[in-house]
């Protein structure tokens, strides 16, 4: 483990129950971050998605991808992140390739495409057991308060 949950919380504005990154296991400079989301059966959303057939919602996979991407942005632009900006997801192009179930270890790999002080683009994949379960291209804005 490279970053634990406490370190992640020191840079992400999110808090439970809406943190979808549990640890960072790889940091490749400012080009790539690999994060882990342990998909726990106890998570509240499984009660409704779906009763008796728990499947991780794709939108929450996107949220995990976005949070990993913020961490990569923070590594690339620490001086911008230090001002505690707001991060807004603006555009998502995604494909969901396989379902994710309770007990899965979701590996989220985010790669920098282009970062500016006020906007960013990442290419992200999510895997379970080395199988790609989702890919996405994210465009998000960074707005100083």
């Amino acid at each position: 483990m490279v970053w634990d949950k406490e370190k992640i919380k020191s840079v992400l504005p999110h808090r439970e129950p809406f943190i979808f990154i549990d640890e960072i296991i790889e940091i490749h400079g400012t080009e790539k971050v690999v994060a882990v989301k342990e998909v726990n059966r106890a998570e509240d959303y499984f009660k409704g998605h779906f009763p008796g057939n728990p499947v991780m919602p794709g939108v929450l996979m996107i949220e995990a991808m976005a949070q990993a991407s913020i961490i990569l942005f923070v590594l690339d632009r620490p001086e911008i992140a230090a001002a505690d900006p707001d991060y807004y997801l603006g555009k998502v192009k995604a494909e969901f390739l396989a379902p994710v179930y309770p007990g899965d270890r979701l590996i989220v790999e985010t790669n920098k495409v282009k970062f500016l002080d006020y906007a960013a683009i990442t290419d992200v994949s999510a895997k379970v057991n080395d199988n790609v379960v989702a890919v996405a291209n994210l465009v998000f804005s960074i707005q100083r308060k």
Binding site: G90, L116, A119, A120, F140
Partner: protein, 80 residues
Amino acid sequence: MNSNVENELRKMVAEIIEVPEEKLSVEADFFNDLNVDSLKAIEIVAAFEKKYRVVIPEKDIPTIRNLGQIVAYTKKLNIQ
């Protein structure tokens, strides 16, 4: 006559900002005339960089405000 590069760039930008190619004049200001926001702007930059395998220095980006200026930028980079 429009150059091939200009036509390629018009097509690329028109797709990103979702306007018909015929409405994308070389003079139209991205931000004031075409409602390009910061997210669309970074998409244009990223698409340009990917297409021509170059990196636009961040300081140059605010100076590029219309299609004509992108075309001029390609000439500066000797893109044919």
